[in-house]
């Protein structure tokens, strides 16, 4: 049974090497996972004048290769910083319940199709690091 689980883990990890596969949290050890994959994510869709709605969607999660190494020219440190982010998305729109008169009830959010380790594009994405 345990071996069966190990084989399942290996197969899923191999599948995820190609990305675009939803991360099965039950079969993958998230503490040791390396790479960037689509993962289920639940958030509260809410805006002023409407009731909130709990939504489950596909987002991105993982651990990307990053490094800093010394170089011979100023500033003497070369950085290679990539994060797990959306590579391909589709937009979903839902209708929020019980909106006040005159309030647009529609709420649009991204659904991950593919995720990749990449530079965070400030043109499309709010990039936070901490």
């Amino acid at each position: 049974m345990k071996l069966h689980h190990q084989i399942l883990d290996t197969v899923l990890l191999l599948l995820m090497a190609g990305c675009g596969v939803v991360l099965q949290t039950s079969a993958i050890d998230l503490r040791t996972f390396i790479g960037c994959a689509v993962r289920e994510f639940t958030f509260l869709a809410k805006k002023p004048g409407c009731r909130g709605l709990r939504v489950t969607t596909d987002a991105c999660w993982g651990r990307c290769e990053t490094w800093e190494k010394p170089v011979l020219e100023p500033p003497y440190i070369e950085s290679y910083h990539r994060v797990c982010t959306y590579n391909e998305t589709k937009m979903m729109t839902l209708k929020l319940p019980k909106c006040a008169p005159g309030v647009d009830p529609f709420y649009t959010y991204p659904v991950a199709i593919r995720c990749d380790c990449d530079i965070c594009s400030t043109a499309t994405t709010e990039c936070e690091t901490a």
Partner: protein
């Protein structure tokens, strides 16, 4: 038989990891490198061949629909959060490069002494 045992022992000895080889598993770890393939002066205990310290690893990051606070302040529907492998402590070092057929040249650079998952450099992020 003694020679055979000696060769067997040599084969069993662990090989040193190649420069900038990725560490196994998550985390951000110290590695020895020579910038542009040129060996540096010793910067980290345990480094051989005059290498300097670099930080290499896998830190956690994610991207998801933007929370309310972000949506109120910007038009971005998606938010990325993450940390990157950085030098937590570094020393200034002078390196001497031996160039073929020329005098030795000295350069300034840095050598990492410790590493951690921390802020991604926004200039290149």
């Amino acid at each position: 038989p003694t020679m055979a045992a000696f060769i067997l022992l040599l084969l069993l000895l662990p090989l040193p990891p190649p420069a900038l080889a990725l560490p196994e598993g998550p985390g951000c770890r110290l590695r020895c490198v020579g910038p542009a393939g040129v060996p540096l002066v010793p910067g980290v205990p345990g480094c051989r061949g005059g290498a300097a310290g670099a930080c290499v690893g896998h830190c956690e990051s994610s991207a998801a629909p933007s929370p309310r606070a972000v949506l109120a302040a910007s038009r971005h529907l998606q938010t990325s959060r993450g940390r990157c492998c950085t030098m937590a402590q570094a020393s200034k070092v002078l390196v001497t490069l031996r160039c073929p057929g020329r005098a030795r040249r000295r350069f300034r650079t840095v050598s990492a002494r410790s590493c951690r998952c921390d802020l991604c450099r926004l200039g290149r992020y």
